[in-house]
């Protein structure tokens, strides 16, 4: 599912550890418009549960995409 999503921008958080990816995402989401999207790349093994928690809290839409090797990929759409 959702393999062909195209994001408005990419946020490369590979090699960064918690809480840096969600800090960067929190800032980046405020720089885009509602409806626009971010592709977040991360290697932190905790990033998937973190993204899901972040989604529940902020109500933005997070789609977990197929990892590329050891890189987790998340498609995030700003909802409001």
């Amino acid at each position: 599912m959702a393999t062909e999503l195209v994001a408005d921008r990419t946020l490369d958080c590979t090699g960064m550890l918690c809480p840096v990816p969600i800090v960067k995402l929190s800032k980046a989401i405020k720089e885009i418009q509602p409806g626009q999207s971010i592709l977040l790349l991360a290697t932190d093994p905790g990033s998937q549960p973190d993204m899901q928690a972040w989604q529940r809290r902020t109500k933005n839409e997070v789609t977990v995409m197929k990892p590329e090797g050891k890189t987790f990929r998340f498609f995030i759409r700003r909802t409001a």
């Binding site: 969600i22 995402l25 929190s26 928690a53 972040w54 809290r57 902020t58």
Partner: protein, 131 residues
Amino acid sequence: MSKLVDESAPTRVLYVQTHGADTPGRTATPFFLATAAAAMDMEAAIYFTMNGPTALKKGVPESLHIKSEGRGQVLRFFIDQAVDMGVKLYVCQPSLDLHDLCIDDLIDGVEMIGGAAFNQMAVEADAVVAF
């Protein structure tokens, strides 16, 4: 007693840090967690009591390595990251006195509050996490 619930009010998390400069490995986690809470659009604050304020003494965060034997980031990095995300830092006066410190001895951006204010913050927070 009924409580008015404001749906638009942000979720608040209050962290309580009792550990200080003598235990570097215990100093950074409250900053990590508060930073993460802020990134989730919560209001996050850290209250430093007991030994907590010793890690906030001017000059200390710059030289306090989180891992043993001078390895890892220094605490300053995590403080800056938290403050940049809007995390509020509070200390209590008696714990400053315990270490013969005054508020001017601490890094900028720390606010002094008393026990009553802390209790009020605690009951108004959605979660209080103590270290």
